[in-house]
Amino acid sequence: MSNSGQQPTRSDEPIWWALFSAGGVCFAVVIPGAILAVGVLYPLGLIPGEMLGFERIRHLLFESFLGFAGFIFVGVAICLPLFHAFHRIRHGLHDLQWAHGWAAKSACYCSATLLSVIALGLWVAAH
């Protein structure tokens, strides 16, 4: 029979791939609109500054959707895209033969986790 070797161990990649995929959807569906509004239309004067006023944005992020609008925004515009980005960076480092293996992998996902925690922390702190 085919007892020629041990069964290979299960990869933990499904976890990272799921986060990467979810982040990819956000990058494709949410990010274009966000950049268009905040990064392009506002600086060009097509969205007036008062619509991005301090009190108005605080209200939008901390009071609408039972106060969870900001949490959802941080999730779909920051945290998930971060995991998407660092997953691609990790595989890109391997593709370019710059770095691979455990160290590169941990550095990438730790960065994504750390920046996500900072973003969520700021959401809490800004209340």
């Binding site: 069964q7 290979p8 299960r10 990869s11 990649e13 499904p14 799921a18 391997h94 593709d95």
Partner: protein, 241 residues
Amino acid sequence: MTSRNIGIMRYNPEQDKKPHTESYQVEADDNTSVLDALQQVQQQDPSLSFRWSCRMAICGSCGVMVNSVPKLGCQTFLRDYPDSLVISPLSNFAVEKDLIVDMEPFLEHLSAIKPWLINSEQSTVPHVQTPQQLARYQQFANCINCGLCYSACPQFGLNPEFRGPAALALAHRYNLDSRDLGKAERMPQLNAKDGVWTCTFVGFCSEVCPKKVDPAAAINQGKVESAKDMILSVFKSSGVR
């Protein structure tokens, strides 16, 4: 018929340190294939080695790189390369002589995922399959094992332990077959780092596939299956205890 120049990568393991390109004159018209041209060159120089058999894109023997892109020699025509044409052995495999590569690593990956119907059920009744059940896997069943997808895959080039496009596409093909009961035996290979998870969906494998198998789609559907398998394993192990 007009005379034209083609380049062929030559390597004689008994004399050469490494492969080099030599140029040859061949007579070509609109119907001259790369395989035809190689056979002409072999008339001039019988030492030229290459594999071929059916001349109709079904045996999968005559895979070569044509201007750095994996192609079947019988299905590729000189008319499509008016400027220059260089034929070299399939990338990512070790060259044995001239255009002949060692396909052994590919065949090992192929057999590791058990690409055959696994069903120990003893029965004299034929396994009936509806057209819908056939349609689920039919596209992935057209593979002719030519290996072009391995030469197209940078992940296989970077990591030769990667099971690779054709093997993983065939694993998916048998997993989708209603007559097959071998999915549990194949999943550990797919779930491994060198299984579906080395793939980054470059997608060039599907681009070069002469049979439009779309191995990249099969591998990425395999990732969905592997992710489901992981969730199931968590439930199973927590349920037993």
